[in-house]
């Protein structure tokens, strides 16, 4: 089974986030980066499928030059080779453009299965995998909790709301967007890191793929969420405090 994993490099979760001078993106000067968390689970799912059924895991990532460190990590964990669509400032373009880049790069691979995270930890549109599937004309399923290869197709478990799950059998090739936390991520071993140095990373550009990234949406401003919760201390004797509390619950919170 040939599996393509589309992954994105995003600012590390424990980074100190500062907004840059433009007010439209993060100051990246002392930011550390990592593989987008749901994409890391997609990679792990792919590696496990390869262990069970054989085949090849190919990593596909679009992003600036620094994204190669995320690609190297994926190779160190066991992916066989990678394709890097090198493109600066991808965040300025819309998800359709990104999906076009990924779909164009993926199309020549003729993978049996394309896995990606259900959304990115930075922009979080949750659209890339689905649009890529549409562009490639492939069936897709989202919020996947488990993947089992069976015969000519796959059987997947989707997460619905309120603890409900849906089990779907679907034909291959297909695109699945993977939920975080569905498996146990492996470590990149030192031998894996060493071996990754010899694995192929093919570089492609938007021009080579015949895609002109553009933007139908524009990001106007990013900002730190304001703290909206407030704690009020009620003073006075217990009876007075209780009366004040009842008043607030009635007229401010309007819950009684």
């Amino acid at each position: 089974m040939k599996i393509l994993v589309a992954l994105k490099q995003v600012p590390a979760r424990d980074s100190l986030l500062r907004i840059d001078a433009s007010g439209r993106w993060l100051d990246e000067s002392d930011l550390s980066f990592e593989i987008n968390e749901p994409d890391a689970y997609a990679l792990e799912a792919a590696l496990q499928l390869k262990e069970q059924h054989g085949g090849e895991v190919v990593v596909l990532s679009a992003g600036p030059e620094r994204a190669v460190s995320a690609i190297r990590e994926a190779l160190a964990k066991g992916a066989d080779r990678a394709i890097h669509v090198e493109q600066e400032n991808l965040g300025e373009f819309d998800t359709l453009s990104l999906a076009k880049l990924l779909a164009a790069a993926a199309s020549s691979e003729k993978a049996d299965l394309i896995l990606t995270g259900l959304q990115s930890d930075d922009l979080g549109s949750g659209q890339t995998g689905v649009i890529m599937a549409e562009l490639l004309g492939l069936p897709h399923a989202t919020i996947i909790m488990a993947v089992e290869a069976s015969g000519q197709g796959v059987r997947v478990k989707r997460e619905l709301e309120a603890g409900w799950f849906q089990h779907v059998s679907m034909p291959l090739p297909a695109v699945l967007t993977i939920q975080s936390g569905i498996n146990k991520l492996r470590y990149a071993t030192l031998m894996g890191i060493k071996k990754a140095k010899t694995k192929e990373v093919r570089k492609l550009t938007a021009a080579e793929l015949g895609v002109q990234p553009e933007s139908s949406v524009s990001l106007l401003r990013i900002y730190q969420p304001k703290r909206v919760k407030q704690t009020q201390m009620l003073a006075g004797a217990p009876a007075e405090q209780a009366a004040q509390l009842v008043e607030k619950l009635k007229f401010e919170a309007r819950v009684i």
Partner: protein
């Protein structure tokens, strides 16, 4: 407490390449997941976390900077970063890995026969075998040239007699690299567990390195064959060559302990309030300690990186390593003491890693060449005058 992010005041990361950062990250994640949750109990109970050995073998930590025979073939900077992250977990754990790689695998690779390399290195790399290094004796620590353990040739075999002590991993080791005096000079031998005449016992009552095994080895007419001698080990300098490897790792490792203490203290002083409901980090005396620590850690990082780059270029010698080991261990111990001070009473309890690091670092200051001996190595390098006696 949030997960450990290291200390990087001076953009030291810009001196590291992507692979080096990935090696550090994967080791840091391993320590966060597998070591941090258990190490406090291990230390308190004086328990050696043997269950981590196969996993560390799988990760490639043992003999990581050696090439071939199942070793990971990392650069020396990558190896240093691994030591840093392991010792951020615990000095005892780093000691286990240091001894296995630098004091057991390194001499087998460097001084051993091809047969010995094939027999031991792949298993030691995987953690399927554990090794120890027997040089120090009850009467000879800083002065190993005085060793009294002897190896006497008898036909095609050697008979060992004597005692070694302060041996990390001693009772758990499957193979011991033992140094003994022969009529031709000091030679190295590989003694396997279970060899008649070879006995080990643990040193009890340690108030430091409690998550690590420390033992004594005794040899009483212990007979081993010539094929268990390290053929290329000639004289005490071969043993000291191993120590240089280990000290290099220590110089990096203690940075991790220092960083852990500093970060614990920094975060604590930001939330601990005293006088006018202000965090104690707003007090000048507290800031002075934090400023001292972060400056000294940064200098220690630069020293370690330079030594690592020199080692990769094969230009690092033992007197450079003495500066690295002496400076960084003393610095880390001082960071532990200052951090303990900043945490007040909380500094002494095991909710925080500081007191454990501090107690461990007292050992690290002494082992693998005491602070004093390294001072004299540096002194001899700059004056040309040896002042050991």
């Amino acid at each position: 407490m949030p997960s450990f992010r290291g200390v990087d005041y001076l953009h030291i990361d810009s001196l590291l390449n992507d692979d080096e950062k990935l090696v550090r990250q994967t080791t840091r994640q391993f320590v966060e997941d597998r070591v941090v949750p258990v190490i406090k109990d291990c230390y308190n109970q004086g328990r050696f976390p043997a269950e981590l050995i196969p996993e560390m073998g799988e990760m490639g930590f043992f003999g990581a900077n050696l090439d071939g025979y199942g070793c990971a073939g990392m650069s020396n900077v990558e190896y240093g970063l691994i030591m840093q992250e392991l010792e951020r977990g615990d000095s005892g754990l780093r000691s286990l890995v240091s001894v296995q790689g630098a004091l057991v695998m390194y001499p087998i690779l460097t001084y051993g026969s091809e047969e010995q390399r094939k027999r031991y290195l792949p298993k030691l790399a995987k953690g399927e075998m554990i090794g120890c290094f027997g040089l120090t004796e009850p009467g000879y620590g800083s002065n190993p040239a005085g060793m009294t353990t002897t190896a006497t040739r008898d036909g095609d075999s050697w008979v060992l007699n004597g005692e070694k002590t302060w041996i990390t991993n001693g009772t758990v080791a499957d193979v011991a690299v033992v140094w003994a005096r022969t009529p031709e000079g000091v030679r190295g031998f590989l003694v396997e567990k279970g060899t008649p005449g070879y006995k080990t016992s643990d040193i009890h009552g340690k108030l430091s390195m409690r998550a690590s095994v420390t033992s004594s080895l005794s040899f009483s007419d212990c007979r081993i064959s010539e094929c268990h001698r390290l053929p290329e080990a000639q004289g005490l300098k071969s043993a000291l060559g191993c120590l240089s490897q280990a000290r290099f790792g220590i110089g990096w490792g203690v940075l991790g302990a220092a960083m852990d203490c500093f970060e614990t203290a920094r975060q604590y002083t930001m939330v601990r309030k005293q006088f006018d409901d202000r965090p104690i980090a707003s007090h000048q005396l507290v800031q002075e300690k934090l400023a001292w620590m972060v400056t000294e850690i940064t200098k220690g990082q630069l020293l370690a990186i330079q030594c690592g780059r020199l080692k990769d270029a094969r230009k690092l010698d033992f007197a450079h390593i003495s500066m690295l080991k002496r400076n960084n261990v003393a610095m880390a111990l001082e960071c532990a003491r200052l951090s303990r001070d900043l945490l007040g009473g909380n500094g002494i309890i095991d909710d925080y890693p500081i007191m454990r690091h501090m107690c461990n670092l007292e050992t690290v200051k002494t082992y693998e060449g005491t602070d004093h001996i390294h001072t004299l190595v540096i002194g001899e390098r700059v004056t040309g005058i040896p002042a050991y006696k």
